[in-house]
């Protein structure tokens, strides 16, 4: 059975592609490079991708919004929506702390390894939390 929240019409897919094209172009052009990693940033990315496609663009699950739990990867269940705000804050604080710790150390031999591990761990943590109603890959990758 298709999940209606994660099922898109042809027009919606086209809008998602166009929204991502504009956003990723800005990111590749360095316009987002100085931004701090925080919940606001992730929600802004989500909003940019899902504007015109879903009414909840930019809103994460919380006690005031969204499904209690969402299914992902078939049989997996997300944490309850009440846990999302704190969980998100914790994940993104870790990212920002790590970025600040490594600022100015770009010449260190393990700098790239640390960045790759940070990106993978953050993506995995976000998948585990499922902060949005409609999946996390699209906003997690630009982050």
């Amino acid at each position: 059975v298709n999940d209606p929240t994660r099922t898109y019409s042809k027009q919606e897919v086209e809008t998602l592609n166009e929204n991502q094209l504009v956003l990723l172009t800005e990111i590749y052009q360095g316009n987002w490079s100085e931004r701090d990693a925080n919940v606001r940033l992730l929600c802004q990315i989500h909003k940019r991708i899902f504007t015109g496609v879903r009414g909840f663009a930019g809103l994460h699950r919380s006690p005031h919004f969204g499904s209690d739990r969402v299914n992902f990867y078939g049989s997996l269940r997300s944490p309850h929506k009440d846990e999302v705000p704190f969980g998100l804050q914790k994940i993104l604080e870790k990212v920002q702390t790590c970025l600040l710790e490594w600022k100015g150390q770009e010449d260190q031999s393990n700098y790239d390894l640390v960045c790759i591990q940070l990106a993978l761990k953050t993506h995995a943590d976000l998948i585990g939390l499922q902060p949005f109603e409609d999946g996390i890959n699209a906003p997690a990758e630009p982050l």
């Binding site: 592609n17 094209l21 990723l24 590749y28 052009q29 990758e141």
Partner: protein, 119 residues
């Protein structure tokens, strides 16, 4: 694995079928970029082809030795330093990211990508 990529030009025969290329990918002999070149298709088309042909890499092919990891990280670092740590815009890379991201959500953005890149 990094070294394998450098010698593949000698290995690829233009008459190789997609099935043969997919098998070489599964063995870790060819990379996605090599297959795109051999078949004269875009890189973003290759994962769909491999999936269709059922080509998957077993864990022992995916795992890298410590020397291979070091070589790969050195290449990543040298690329980053060459562009001074700033991202470099390329429409191809942006479109490839979108196709890849949509694929993870079960969406196929290839038709849109072909139009966008005027292929």
């Amino acid at each position: 694995m990094a070294l394998v990529h450098d010698i593949t030009n000698d290995l690829i025969d233009k008459s190789m079928t997609p099935e043969v290329l997919a098998d070489l990918y599964a063995q870790g002999i060819l990379e996605i970029q090599d297959i795109a070149k051999a078949l004269s298709i875009e890189v973003f088309e290759v994962p769909f082809l491999l999936e269709k042909l059922g080509a998957t890499r077993p864990l022992h092919v995916i795992l890298m030795s410590s020397d291979e990891i070091a070589a790969k990280l050195a290449k990543i670092q040298s690329d980053r330093l060459a562009r001074n740590g700033t991202p470099v815009y390329s429409k191809e890379a942006v479109v490839r990211d979108i196709v890849s991201s949509q694929r993870l959500e079960g969406l196929d953005a290839r038709e849109w990508a072909r139009k966008e890149l005027k292929l």
